[in-house]
């Protein structure tokens, strides 16, 4: 159990749950509403965007946790991973 920090795990798990349930709720609501109102599909898209944002949010939360623990080595690792993911987003739009 030495490698796993209990408090940090809890915050990270809550982040993932928050992302999962928010995306799920938005998508289900959108899928139902699209048969009745024209803006239903926008809710669905918003849900998928929340889903796509969750991994990034997760890296940021982990990075902050490492900073709080003064574990600068892993904070830097998280930051570099974040930079690569952001680069993917930028390149994806441009190509």
């Amino acid at each position: 159990m030495s490698r796993q920090d209990v408090a940090a795990d809890r915050v990270l798990s809550l982040t993932l749950k928050f992302g999962a349930y928010t995306a799920f709720a938005l998508i289900v609501a959108g899928l139902g509403l699209q048969f009745f109102v024209p803006w239903g599909i926008r809710l669905t898209t918003a849900g998928l965007l929340v889903l796509l944002a969750t991994p990034v949010l997760r890296i940021i939360v982990a990075c902050l946790q490492f900073l709080r623990e003064r574990d600068f080595r892993y904070a830097l690792v998280s930051f570099v991973v974040l930079a690569i993911v952001v680069l993917a987003y930028v390149l994806g739009i441009q190509t």
Binding site: M1, S2, R3, Q4, D5, V6, A8, D9, R10, L12, S13, L14, L16, K17, G19, A20, A23, F24, I27, V28, G30, L31, F35, I41, T44, T45, G47, L48, L51, L52, T54, P55, V56, R58, I59, A62, Y74, V77, S78, V80, V81, I84, V85, L87, A88, Y89, L91, G92, I93, Q94, T95
Partner: protein, 262 residues
Amino acid sequence: MTLATMLLLVAIGFGAGGFGALAGVGGGIIVTPLLAIYFGLPMHQAIGVTLLCVIATSTATSSQYVERHVTDVRLGMTLELATTVGALIAALVAHHINRRTLAVLFACFLLYSAGSMIKKAWNSRHAKREEVIPDYTPQNYPMGLAASLIAGGFSGLLGIGGGPIKVPVMLLFMKVPLRVAAATSNFMIGVTAGTSAYVYWGRGDVRVDIAAPLVAGVFAGSLLGARISPKIRAFYILMLLVCIAGWLAAQMIYKLLTGGFQ
């Protein structure tokens, strides 16, 4: 899209997410060929949609593993340095690879996954549950990073999680206990698939109308599956998945030989 098609997609997502979580394998591997063969989606679009399903599975199930302190977040984050680079490069390259080549690669990976699931099923027959995680220190980081780069590459190219590559390497070369390796791989998959998904999304290769019902099904299936998985023996579910993967690989090969996937 008709209500019937939508419900069918929800059901496929539910099955892929549920079986995936129960058996501890990514369900994405059966989603791509189903979309490409039966829904007539071009390979790039089928892969783009599957990436979202893979993120959904990882997010839904890893929240529970992290909560149970099985995931090694530090190890996962370190290996993500390599998986994200691999995923980014492969996602950029995938656009320039023709659809038939992608389909051939995918069929090969389906067969490889079926093989690794058979091995996993065979081991699960007489394996005792690891109750307590033994103390460990990950070894051989260069090997782990190299394997992660390749796993990330396959993820960006074929829209899969890459678990069948990462887990054995973590287990054999990095000396990480199996449960930790599986949970950590699952945790990494969200970020890896996310990296490729941004490239596919930016390019317009993710169809919202198809992705949304699938993702809804995957969420429901994997949340339920992860909850009941400690109580269920993975053997029969793995064998069922092997049959599905084998059938889909045969269908893909048949379609390739008859000139499909243009």
